[in-house]
Symmetry: C2
Subunit: 459 residues, 2 copies
C-alpha cells in the first residue's frame, strides 16, 4: 500500500477551489483578450542552461532539476561522485529543469520564434511555475503566474494599457485596489545626486522596505551599508514628500534638476499620468518613490498593486525592462509587463467574501432515481434540459431517496426533481428546492420546461 501524501509545498485543489481559481484565471484571461493580448504556452521543462544564471545564485538553488533518463551516471567523472561536488554533479546528471517563472521562458520563446512573431508582440501566459523554496504560509513550491507583456514597443501607451487592464481585472473581481507606480530612472537620479550611482541596488533594496520597517530602520540599514548622514539628508526629504502625484513630480523637478536620467524618469512618469487621465482610468494610482520591487531588470516604469483593507502584500506587479531578450542574443528590444498573483488574489477574495455564487455553480438540478422505469423516463428529460445548457445529473442508482437528497445537498445542487410512477402518468415532476425543502409539482409541458429553466437559472 503506497502512501497518499503529496510533496510539501504542493497542493491538491478541490472542486470548489478549482472552480474559484478558474473564476480568477478566466477573469484575467478575458480582460487580456479585450486588449488584444494573445495567449501562448511553453513547456514545463526547459533546458537547464536556459534557466541557470537568470535568477541569481539563490535562484539557481531553487530550480527543480530533472534527472536524466536511463543510465545517468555514464561518463560522469568519478571525482564528481562525492557530496562536496553535488552542484557540479547535478549539472552533469540533469539537463532539464522546471520553469521558475514565465518571464525567462517568454524571453527564450521570443528569440526562438522571432521570425514568426509580429512585433509589438502582446502575449499573455497563465501557467504554473515551480520553486524549491522553503514552504510557508502563502508560499508554495508550485503556483500559477498570470503574465502579460508587450515586447518591441517603448511607447508609454503600453504602460497605460497595462494600468487599464489592472483597473478592469480588479473591478471585475470587485477588489478595491491602490496602484503604486515609480520609475527606475527616478531612483537612478536619486542615487546620482547622492553620489551613490554605483550603489543603486543597495539603495533601492533599503528604501523598498520603508512601508514595512519605517524610515528610521531604512536609515540604519543604509548607514550600515556605507551611506553617510549627508546623503541621508538628501534622501529623507524625497521619501517624505507629500501631496498629489503631480505635486510630487513638480517638487522632484527641482530636487533632481541636476540629473539627466531623473529628468527622463520624471517626464515619462508625467506623461504616463497624463495618459492615465486621458484614458479615464479611475482606479487610485499614486507615485511611490519607495517602490523598487527589488528586481534589477526593471529599467523604466515600476508598477505594484495592493488590495485595500487586507494585509497581504502586492497582488499584481510589473514594470518595463529594456534587455530581457539580450540574454538570449536578441538586443535592444524593450518590453513592459505585469503579473497577477492568483494565490494572493484568491486569499483576498476569500478574506473579503467576494467570490460570487456563480463561481461555485455546478449541477443545477438533479433527477432522483426512483427505479428502472423512472430512470429511463428521466434520462430523456435530463437530455432535453442539457440541450438548453442546463447542468443536470441523474442519480445513477435507485438508492434510498434520503441518501440521494443528501448527495444533492452535500454537492450544493439547488434543485432535485422527483419523478415516480404517479408523476410519469401525469407527465409531471415534483421539484424540491434544497434550500427551503419546499416541493412544488410542475407539469412537464414545453412551457413548464422553460419556466423550470428560468427558475433554475436564477439561483
Amino acid at each position: 500500500m503506497s502512501n497518499t501524501s503529496i510533496p510539501k509545498g504542493t497542493r491538491d485543489f478541490s472542486p470548489l477551489e478549482t472552480a474559484r481559481r478558474n473564476y480568477i484565471f478566466d477573469s484575467i484571461r478575458e480582460v487580456y483578450k479585450l486588449f488584444g493580448f494573445v495567449q501562448i504556452e511553453t513547456p514545463a521543462m526547459e533546458q537547464l542552461d536556459t534557466l541557470t544564471g537568470k535568477y541569481g545564485d539563490e535562484g539557481d538553488k531553487l530550480l527543480f532539476r530533472i534527472l536524466n533518463s536511463g543510465n545517468f551516471l555514464r561518463d560522469v567523472p568519478k571525482d564528481l561522485l562525492n557530496d562536496d561536488a553535488a552542484a557540479a554533479l547535478s549539472s552533469r546528471i540533469c539537463e532539464k529543469g522546471l520553469r521558475y517563472d514565465l518571464t525567462v521562458p517568454f524571453a527564450r520563446y521570443v528569440v526562438q520564434h522571432r521570425n514568426e512573431i509580429t512585433f509589438p508582440f502582446k502575449r499573455f501566459q497563465i501557467q504554473p511555475v515551480w520553486r524549491a523554496d522553503r514552504p510557508q504560509k502563502g508560499r508554495y513550491r508550485e503556483f500559477y503566474q498570470c503574465d502579460a507583456d508587450v515586447i518591441g514597443s517603448s511607447s508609454l501607451l503600453n504602460e497605460t494599457e497595462l494600468l487599464q487592464i489592472i483597473e478592469k481585472v480588479f473591478s471585475k473581481l470587485n477588489i478595491d485596489v491602490t496602484v503604486k507606480i515609480n520609475n527606475r530612472k527616478i531612483l537612478a537620479g536619486i542615487a546620482e545626486i547622492m553620489n551613490m550611482s554605483e550603489h543603486l541596488t543597495e539603495l533601492t533594496v533599503a528604501i523598498d522596505k520603508t512601508e514595512k520597517i519605517g524610515l528610521n530602520s531604512v536609515k540604519d540599514e543604509l548607514k550600515s551599508r556605507g551611506f553617510t548622514e549627508n546623503q541621508w539628508q538628501i534622501l529623507e526629504p524625497i521619501l517624505i514628500l507629500n501631496g498629489s502625484s503631480n505635486e510630487k513630480l513638480t517638487k522632484l523637478d527641482l530636487i533632481l534638476h541636476n540629473s539627466k536620467i531623473a529628468a527622463e524618469g520624471l517626464n515619462e512618469t508625467r506623461k504616463l499620468f497624463s495618459y492615465v487621465a486621458s484614458a479615464g482610468i479611475k482606479v487610485k494610482i499614486e507615485l511611490d518613490l519607495a517602490l523598487a520591487r527589488g528586481l534589477n531588470y526593471y529599467t523604466g516604469a515600476i508598477i505594484e498593486v495592493k488590495a485595500n483593507g487586507v494585509e497581504i502584500g502586492s497582488i499584481c506587479g510589473g514594470g518595463r525592462y529594456d534587455n530581457l531578450t539580450g540574454i538570449f542574443g536578441l538586443k535592444n528590444i524593450s518590453g513592459v509587463g505585469i503579473s497577477f498573483g492568483a494565490d494572493r488574489i484568491y486569499d483576498v477574495l476569500t478574506a473579503l467574501e467576494l467570490f460570487p455564487k456563480s463561481a461555485d455553480a455546478g449541477t443545477q438540478i438533479m433527477f432522483a432515481n426512483m427505479g428502472e422505469e423512472e430512470e429511463i423516463h428521466c434520462l430523456n428529460i435530463a437530455n432535453a434540459l442539457r440541450m438548453d445548457g442546463v447542468a443536470v445529473e441523474l442519480y445513477p442508482e435507485n438508492a434510498k431517496l434520503k441518501k440521494q437528497l443528501e448527495y444533492a445537498d452535500k454537492k450544493g445542487i439547488p434543485f432535485v426533481a422527483i419523478i415516480g410512477g404517479d408523476e410519469i402518468k401525469s407527465r409531471s415532476a415534483m421539484i424540491r428546492n434544497m434550500r427551503n425543502r419546499e416541493q412544488t409539482p410542475i407539469e412537464l409541458t414545453a412551457e413548464a420546461r422553460n419556466q423550470l429553466i428560468s427558475i433554475i437559472s436564477t439561483v
Copy 2:
C-alpha cells in the same frame, strides 16, 4: 548567450495553437459540466512512491524524476555511486516525480480526501502529464489528458452517461466518430471456454491487434504463445461474428453459455445498449470483441472512439475498473472513466479543417495611431468598445500607416479604424476592412457604434 532550444519531445504553443487547443479543452470542459462533473487539480509532482509500480517496469523507466534539492548525495552509500547502480541510486537522490497520467493521482486524491468527498464522485481533470518516451510523430514527452471518472457507483447509467458525453463532445467539435465497446468479462469468458483463463492477457494483447495486423497474424502470434489450433477454432468464429451488436450478443449467448463471467459481461453489455437506446444516443456504437485496450486494470466495459475518415488511432478511450484505489488502501470502490486525447483531436480537426473561425478570434478592431492628439481621442473610443465586450487594440506608436496595417494584417485583425485630424473634427472614423481593403467612413454617434459592433461581431 544561452541557447534557445527546448527539451526534445516538448512544444511551445503559438497564439493560434493555444487558441485552438483552448477551443478543444473548453468544449470538453463544457460538456463535462453539463453532466455534473466537477473539476479538480493535482500537483505536477507526486511522491515517487505514489507513482512507481503502477505502470509496470516499462512505465517506471518512463517517469521523470526530480533531483532532491541541496546536497542530494548526503548519506548515499558509496557503493551506489557507480553506473551499474543507476536505478537504485535514482530512488535515493529523487523523492519526487512528474505525474505520468491523471488516473493514479486521482486514485491517490480519492483516498487522501475520502472524508471530504461525496460519493458517487464525478470528477474531471484537464492537466499535462509527462513521459520520458522516445519522441516521435504524434508522441510527446509533455501532453494534456482530459479525464472524467465516476467513482463509487457500479450502475451502468454511468457508462451510459460517458457515452452521452462522448457523443456531445464530438458533435460539438463536428467530428464524425464511431464508438467501439467491449466488456472485459466477455473477454474473460472467451478465455475461459478456450481453457486459457490464465493467459487472458496474452489473448487480449493479441486480439487487440486484429484491425492492425489481420486475423492470420493474430493466429500466428497466439500459436507462438502456446495457443493450439483447437483453441483457435473456438476463437476465430467469435472474432468474425457479424451482424448488429444485438445479433452478436445473441450469438455469443449460445457460444459462451458455459461461462458464468461471460454471461455477466453479456448482460451488462445488453443493458448498456438498452440504456443507449433509451437515452436517444445517436452516435454509432458497435460491439467490437477485439477491443481490449491493453490495460489490465479494466474489469467491465471497455470504450474506444475513432474518428471516421482519418487514420489516426483512437481519440478517446476508457472503461470500468474495480480496484483503482485499492493500491492506496481503499478497497471495493468501483469506477468508470474516459479520457479524451487532445493532441490527436487537434490533429483530426486540422486534417479535416474543422477548426471554426471563432476559435482563432483575437482582436476584432485596431485603432491606427495617427499622432498624439489622435491617440488620446482613440483611447476613449477604444475603451467604450471594450465596455461592450469588443476586443480592441490601439497601435502603441505613431508609426507609418503602412507598418500599422501590416501589423493588423499579420495578426489577422479584420478591421482597422483610422481617425486623423479630419475625422476628429467630423466625429467620424474611417473603417478599413482588412480582407477586401475597402474603407468606409462612419459617424461616431451612439447608433453608429452599435452598428460598428454588429459589423465587427459578424466576422
